[in-house]
């Protein structure tokens, strides 16, 4: 995948909580990306096998809302995102994301 600012932002958001299920809306809030940018990235990651998707296990009648679709990081995805973030960290194009990289540093090491 082409290394873009949006991709790195999504990768950072996912890598910050690799074991948690990820929701489209939460990710867009966290990264500040529009849906038109975020969803294509998520679907490319799905196609590459970096993420798997599923549906929330709830009863719409009881919870009064439909189940949400979640994404989870795969082992392959974890490896690929790690490599992607390592190369992005030294790339000057993503200098503005330094604080996010710093917060993630212990996980990347």
């Amino acid at each position: 995948m082409k290394l873009t600012n949006a991709l790195v932002q999504v990768a950072l958001a996912i890598a910050s909580k690799p074991d948690d299920p990820l929701w489209g809306y939460d990710l867009s809030k966290e990264t500040g990306l529009r849906s038109g940018v975020l969803y294509p990235i998520l679907h490319r990651m799905l196609d590459e096998g970096w993420l798997v998707d599923g549906w929330e296990d709830l009863d719409p009648a009881i919870d009064k809302r439909p189940p949400r679709r979640y994404y989870r990081l795969t082992e392959e995805g974890s490896r690929e995102l790690g490599a992607l973030l390592q190369s992005a960290r030294t790339d000057r194009r993503f200098a503005a994301l330094k604080p996010a990289f710093a917060a993630l540093q212990p996980r990347l090491a």
């Binding site: 849906s35 038109g36 679907h43 439909p66």
Partner: protein, 156 residues
Amino acid sequence: MLDLLDGLRAWQLLIVAVAVYGFFPGVVLRFILLAFRRSDPRRAEILAELRAVPRWERPFWVAEQAEVALFEGLLERIKSRRKTSQRLSLLKENGPIIFMKPHVKHGLLSKSTYGRGTSGLVTNIHTGPRGEITHIDLRLPDGKLVREVPVDYFRA
């Protein structure tokens, strides 16, 4: 006077926009999501996400989904339709296909059974989210149209 009318028109437009996006975002969103194919999980995904969006943000969020639906849903639909018609013409060229196991089709008040070995010509194919063929419509030798038969019935 004309300024006053223009102002009035702008107000009317604002009221309509607030009513449509503000009070009925779910309805508007459902219309927007029609751009995605019926089998596309994004229809249900985006609709479910709406509940997580704070009310005051919903009109803007719904408008944002129009972009997703236009570029992701509609373009994908066009691409998939082109691909589907290519595959359909290939299937038609190959001649009739045969039921490999009996198929029972339940109607509103009727039930039709198509035995193993029944053959028919493919008239349409239905695809899943990844472009895989899931169901087939076919015309039997007696002219009867059988719609949406799962593709498994034609596999050995």
